[in-house]
Symmetry: C2
Subunit: 355 residues, 2 copies
């Protein structure tokens, strides 16, 4: 893939060292853009100054949400190298999302090449403070101007970058989770396994409700039986019960998380038994009460690991590990972030240096 | 609501009389736009020249599909009046969609006022040929630039207009319908009752599959039991069995169609018993085989009534009314379109003249 580069004539002032970066508060000077038209395929791959995209008011993305995205990060090591973490996994999941939404696929090598070249171009934007990184957001959306519902005849694939702060500026701390039994995130035959915009729009109401009740996130149950544990907020979720790990299988309703997959690999390398199975909420709450539920945590790109200290299901409530971050949870967090930031040897071959 | 009007300096050439208008091929000279910001609410209602909207690449609508829409039409009567059809129903449904998606509501009177003023401003664009109309597309989307998932802090409410052709240029004809048993449109706890973009993006794969197999639309089954009939394509669906009418109830997964509601009122005024209930696909196919299934049709704003001539469910197939448009179906089509185009007296008080 040939990528044309048009450099910005004036560069933005970068956030000062030590300044709170937040998440999505700053965007870099450039973005990657590529167009797709039926009959022509992908064309005009380019890195151009970050700026507004003019949208026809009839653009299909604004009406029928034919849109998908990915999320990954670039990390600055102590010896000033820039690392990507398993970008090919994002490329493959993006292709799966796009197939389900009847959108064109981006070849794995083109996806990785576009991410790599854009990050290389913006390497000065990768922050250096502990726990900070450059968040990478590839996304695709339908641009055809039409009010009929059909696969669009034109799309844009765009990548934007945002330097982001440490997810836990005060260290990893457990959160309170509300088990949602009114709203549903996904159902078999739907789009739960994809990163399509519609999944996220539909999830906001439950998140708002949970926050109003004093919880940080929701734990989603399956849409058919309202019984089996699926995800927590926008993360995968894992439970350590009787020294074994339990997490929902990726069979259509659960997002196949890159962090989820990495954590499973690490756990297995440590000799843990990982059960990818449908765990009933009643069994989980019971394990919480009889204290066989030892640890619980969400996994995702943004937070990496998010320990769960409390679960509330209807009138029932359990505290996990005395509302303290579990030993295994902390060790997983330290190991995975250690690999991502290049502090620990990457025996899995997951990181890719951006030259 | 105060609406500022900025007129286009040059007007587009209108399609010539007799030219095939299609659906969404032409857009008028102006659009309505209004902005919402947290703390400020709705502001800057305006009718401005139709044109591109500059979008920040981080606009939340492009990532998390916080977007909703409506669809209605303006009709030109033989004596040259312009009629709207129950626009307050669209206003109410729009508010319901926006509540579910955690988006701001537009007051019913403001919604109707915006539609009315824009149509009045573009009244020369309402076509006159039989069966043609001006399609009205109100829509709202999140504009805040952010990569975190949360209710956006800013939105745009836009209305665009498109003159559209007769849905059946060769007259009302039955279509072949494939009963979809792999993909799911909606599930309780989800967004099935709303017109949010995500519902439509998720539905495209089934539509593509049905077309490839030689069918016009899919019939959706419920997402929990995969057993009960819900909608057909993007329309509500009704069946006449043993002289009674059956249609799915609006209890969360089915879109509360304005055409659906109007048809139910007309049917009841004619003395028909209308059963809003969950009809099992097995019972429907059985009724097809023993010929107690007399007629079947979809209802929606675009087509008004779409007769169903054939149903295919797995290996089973039934033909309805010898693949001819049923007597009741035709009478409903003639009555409702007669009211909409002002040819039949509107005893229900549904039409509103645009002065």
């Amino acid at each position: 893939m040939e990528i044309r580069i048009e450099r910005a004539t004036t560069l933005k002032e970068k956030p000062k060292a030590g300044e709170a970066l937040g998440f999505g508060k700053y965007y870099t000077d450039h973005m990657f853009v590529m167009d797709w038209d039926r009959g022509q395929g992908w064309h005009d791959a380019r890195i151009v100054p970050f700026g507004p995209i003019p949208m026809d008011p009839a653009s299909m993305v604004l009406h029928y949400a034919q849109e998908t995205f990915e999320g990954l990060k670039a990390y600055r090591t102590k010896d000033d190298r820039i690392l990507l973490f398993r970008p090919e996994m994002n490329a493959r999941r993006f292709a799966n999302s796009n197939r389900r939404l009847c959108m064109p696929e981006v070849a794995e090598e083109d996806f990785v090449e576009a991410v790599t070249q854009l990050v290389a171009c913006e390497k000065d934007w990768v922050p250096a403070e502990e726990g900070t990184s450059l968040y990478i957001r590839p996304f695709m959306f339908a641009t055809e101007a039409a009010v009929g519902v059909h696969p669009a005849s034109s799309y844009k694939f765009v990548i934007i970058l945002s330097p982001v702060g440490a997810y836990y500026p005060e260290g990893v701390n457990p959160v309170k989770i509300y088990v949602e039994d009114e709203y549903v995130r996904a159902t078999p035959g739907g789009t739960g396994f994809t990163k399509c915009g519609g999944n996220y729009a539909a999830s906001i109401a439950a998140q708002v409700k949970a926050e109003e009740m004093g919880f940080t996130q929701v734990l989603w149950l399956d849409g058919v039986h309202r019984k089996y544990v699926e995800e927590v907020g926008t993360m995968n979720v894992m439970f350590m019960i009787d020294n074994e790990i339990y997490t929902a299988p990726c069979d259509g309703t659960v997002l196949p998380g890159v962090t989820r997959d990495s954590i499973i690999h690490i756990l297995k390398s440590w000799g843990y038994k990982v059960n990818e199975m449908h765990l009933a909420i009643d069994d989980l709450m019971k394990a919480g009460h009889d204290k066989t539920l030892q640890e619980a945590f969400g996994t995702g790109t943004a937070a990496v690991i998010s320990p769960i200290g409390e679960l509330r299901y209807k009138e029932d409530e359990v505290t996990i590990n005395d509302f303290k971050t579990g030993e295994l949870t902390q060790k997983l967090y330290d190991t995975l972030t250690g690999i991502q930031w290049g502090d620990i040897e990457d025996t899995f071959g997951w990181t890719r240096e951006v030259k």
